[in-house]
Symmetry: C2
């Protein structure tokens, strides 16, 4: 890797890009053509005349997981604007769990229990501050360049929050709201510390903001769109506190991090800093923006930051004009073709692959060369680009195998293109004999994210690729106006890619990761001492009054609650604390109160509580909602609200 | 069928029942034994050492649905305390959709849009009245004794509501709260009118209440438990208004309806009308209670009813003491073994099969004989019982094939038992050569509901049975303390039952139905005129102020919203109305506002609205959350809230 490689500026000219209008036209046509295949007559007729995939696509049974057998991989998906995280098994494609994060979940009681409200955040009246979210991306914590089974990080694009899921319990334990930003799009944890070699694990999570606003955004400067800005944010992976932010030119799309901990990267589609569509399309090129983590943290230490509004988060200046000297620069803007979207680092840590729908090419940026730029040894950031292969229409995200190949989703072509990294570099260097594209596979339809088994780690194994497709059209039985999307499992172990199965997914399987099952070590039973308010002994169960505040302490232990009835008075503020004292795996109880809109579950040895006003007098049965035991139906209590 | 058949009272004695304590013991042991098989060591270790089902259970691939092929059946499931309805395909087991009903759904905007709030019901401050529910049972509307593809009815046990889902759009369109009851457990639509032969379709939905309370329940009589009562309710299937209620002795569990429209039935486990566990267990037998629909409606017409509290719903008297003369009785209490749970009518309309976990037997009640009792031609209701086969431990629900066989779930035995109806009747009549039990199949683990393809219709086809099991234990990769449940697909077309596949289901797949795909006719695109507030033309789009109330009318049409920005003032009550004018199938848009907690989708030609207070000044980007088009990322607007 060196600067000797010819740098061909014509490769970056507008002629290689699709004209914006043309793309819009193609996109429209692509959709229309694709959708024309969809039965427009009676759905029942459509159901009868099943569209047939060529038999070569279908390896029925080869990858089946018979009853009683276990899957070999976990797949975790961010569920887009459904706000949750989903857990699947592969290769079966079976969904095991939905983990509520930014949504509400009435089975779990997420958004109903005091414990979940404390994580989500509340308004002064005790109601949850937010009950919706857009779970965009999902990435696990790392140790030594591979997944360590501690955490999943997921981001909410609407309300600008980062959520964390503990992988041992598969439950959300923290949510942090990020100040000063809008459109929290991309996120990625770091993989090691940039300076301390002893810290070989994730300690930071990086967050990109897509939408620029006035800073601070309190109603001033609303028309001064030239001064709207975006920030790049770093959050502490353990405390989940916001550590620092970087003011940038342009905006942030997807985020990637290097294996050595030195750089974080984000693609930028609006380097023009426009607020309207034509303004955002004006420039010839956009960028992949790199952040020098160690220098940024030194700048924060040195007090070279400001803050905005009420926020105390230090914001350093990462704009171009403040970072002209590479040797002190906090940021490096590498020009790449218009509107890049995905950025993914290869498992050997050498290259960032970027692609975006307005160019039919991908860009490969060498990590080593970006570091050289920061060292003053590369004269132009653009020279860090080592390949720009032509991939097809609408390239978005790139995944990798362990044999030097990349797999890019082509949104407009509805394809996965498999290409060789070294071939692309040689071709860019002028070698006309180099083979770049190795295979193309039609997917159904319009893929967004694509990702391979362990593909974002050093343990990338090259076995499976998932294509998360935005449209299912006619692939499944019709279910009304809202169609599912399609998650297609593809075997990439051979020379040709093969579709294993189509899985319908309730919108939106936005982003996912595939993890070997041996990495995940779960707890099936809580430690009762994890809950400071646990009711550990039947003698502690009872009704405790303090003025008009009443605390009801209950134990659920099959087949009964500790109190067959409890009495409160109309107008009381009632807090009910329930501990599930059962210790048997899978022995979950539920607790619901008739007509009082209260419902939650308690896993073995777990404690939860709810607080509400007893505003209706009368007899209100409480019952176990989660099938627990042969006597489950009889597991009841009575709340008596005296008038 | 006649009364000549010997009536053996010893069959009903307590010695045939499991002693309550013994059941509790067995249940505990059953659970413990079952769970002992579950790895208590590291879950990862458990993942490595997959438990193996005998190969004879696994017919891998025989029932697979290759990529691009469609399923042959729909399965609709009530999701228990998750509050939604789920749509699957069979035999693949793939989940296509979750329909929000009693839960909140941030993708759809269910509980967020004005339209959904109007269906759910609101508090005076505009917040939703209920945001949780327990979707217990699910049944479609009928015409001519089979499913007609119009509606699904589902009930909420916690907040006592009946919801209706339109099958053409697969969306909830009505929710009715039922007065005077608690623990709305069982529900079933009728299949024709009891009197008018022209009405050969569902026009009523029957609802059973499990928990008895004072009537009215406003804080008086809270200690007078002997006067706690349950009601049986009838709701109009079209208007969804509550038509009438019946005061009964005992309570209601599951509900069934006859094919001729004349009777509704409910099982009763607390005929003692006890409030404590020992009180509920005191009696030798409980009942299956039958309602004479025509007579009840005549009594209502004749003004023979009362009302309770604020409710205007007429309540007729169906207690035993008020219905001693069969010829005028509204109700018939048929004694059957202790604590019956399920009641299911055979597809030939002849028999109600009841079973409950405290007796190892099932009870078969002849429809014709119950009618004879109402005609004064049968001296004792008990004589309507024509068989009581010994089935196994913990029998709960019975499904049927089209060859005269029944399939009962055995909760404690973790089995499905296949038995022959005529064999059971002959055996009850004393024929010792009669074969009753034909097959037993282990399921994994502890089945609740079991149901066959088209099994609750005259078109019952005897192909598949689903066993919805309450515990999955070690059947899937571990996902923390909360395990999924198991939905097992079983081929019942041959002599021996065969498990086809295990499907993990997020709790709780409470009840389900399997419908042939040709019956379901969906709409993929709305009619824009279905929405009175639709913004049909770009010239109608804009910001309309009336004092501090502002209406923003928007059109979403790929790739843009009709307004690139809109302005309101801090403190305004803002209503945003959005119409998706795209007409292409599967072209759904989303609408979200940054940091304003607003998020919903719009299917093609659909209109939705939200109303909120503009309490934060500044610039707030609005964006399309549902991938719609190549230019989806750029589909934005700006809400400017002036300070």
């Amino acid at each position: 890797m060196s600067e000797k490689r010819p740098h061909n500026p014509t490769d970056t000219s507008r002629r290689r890009f699709l004209n914006t209008a043309a793309v819009a036209g193609i996109a429209g046509a692509g959709l229309s053509v694709g959708l024309a295949a969809c039965k427009q007559d009676s759905p029942a007729a459509s159901a009868q005349s099943a569209p047939v995939t060529p038999a070569s696509d279908a390896h029925a049974g080869d990858y089946s997981v018979p009853p009683g057998q276990l899957d070999t991989y976990y797949m975790f998906s961010s569920a887009g604007h459904a706000g949750d995280v989903r857990v699947f098994g592969l290769p079966s494609g079976r969904e095991f769990k939905r983990i509520p994060v930014f949504n509400m979940d009435c089975m779990v009681g997420w958004g109903i229990t005091n414990e979940s409200k404390a994580i989500i955040g509340t308004n002064p009246d005790g109601s949850v501050k937010y009950n919706t979210g857009d779970t965009h991306h999902i990435h696990p914590s790392y140790t030594d360049g591979t997944y360590d089974g501690r955490y999943l990080f997921v981001n909410d694009k609407i309300n600008c929050r980062l959520g964390r899921v503990r992988l041992d319990t598969m439950e959300c334990d923290k949510i942090t709201q990020i100040p000063n930003i809008q459109g929290f799009h991309g996120t990625f944890p770091d993989k090691r510390d940039p300076l301390d070699p002893a810290i070989n694990r994730t300690t930071r999570v990086f967050c990109g903001s897509e939408f620029s606003t006035p800073l601070p955004n309190f109603g001033k400067g609303i028309d001064d769109t030239a001064h709207y800005r975006s920030l790049f944010t770093c959050i502490d992976a353990e405390s989940m506190d916001v550590r620092w932010q970087v003011l940038i030119d342009g905006n942030c799309e997807l985020v990637a991090t290097s294996y050595d901990g030195k750089l974080a990267a984000t693609t930028q589609y609006n380097t023009e800093m426009g607020t309207t569509y034509p303004e955002m399309m004006a420039a010839e090129m956009d960028s992949c923006l790199f952040f020098n983590v160690a220098r940024i943290e030194q700048a924060v230490k040195d007090g070279k930051f400001k803050t905005y509004g009420d926020s105390k988060v230090p914001v350093v200046d990462g704009t171009k004009s403040a970072n002209t000297d590479p040797k002190t620069a906090l940021t490096c803007y590498v020009p790449i073709p218009k509107n890049p979207h995905g950025v993914n680092i290869s498992p050997d840590g050498k290259y960032y692959a970027c692609a975006g729908k307005l160019s039919p090419s991908g860009s490969l940026i060498a990590h080593e060369l970006v570091l050289k730029w920061f060292d003053g040894e590369l004269d132009e950031p653009r020279k860090a680009v080592v390949a720009e292969p032509e991939l097809g229409l609408g390239p978005l995200h790139t995944a990798f195998d362990n044999r030097g190949n990349a797999y890019t989703t082509l949104f407009l072509d509805s394809q996965i293109v498999k290409w060789n990294i070294e071939g692309a570099i040689k071709s860019y260097q002028g070698d006309k004999t180099a083979t770049v594209v190795l295979d193309r596979l039609d997917v159904h339809y319009q893929p967004g994210h694509g990702f391979t088994s362990m593909g974002e780690t050093r343990e990338c194994d090259g076995k499976f690729l998932i294509s998360d497709n935005k449209f299912s059209k006619d692939r499944f039985l019709p279910v009304g106006p809202l169609h599912p999307e399609t998650s297609q499992l593809i075997d990439i172990s051979g020379d040709k890619m093969v579709i294993v199965h189509d899985n319908p997914v309730t919108s939106e399987p936005h982003d996912s990761i595939i993890i070997r099952r041996d990495i995940i070590k779960t707890r099936q039973i809580y430690n009762v001492d994890d809950f400071p308010n646990a009711v550990k002994d039947h003698k502690d169960s009872g009704v405790f009054r303090n003025g008009n505040k009443v605390t009801v302490k209950l134990i659920s232990q099959a087949p009964a609650f500790s109190l067959p009835e409890f009495r409160v008075k109309k107008g009381d503020e009632v807090t009910i604390i329930v501990t599930n004292l059962d210790k048997i795996e899978d022995l979950t109880h539920g607790f619901a109160i008739q007509r009082y809109n209260i419902n939650f579950i308690l896993n073995p040895q777990e404690t939860k509580s709810v607080t509400f006003k007893a505003d209706k007098p009368g007899v209100f049965w409480c019952y176990c909602t989660h099938f627990c035991h042969a006597m489950h139906m009889e597991m009841r209590s009575r709340m008596i609200v005296e008038a």
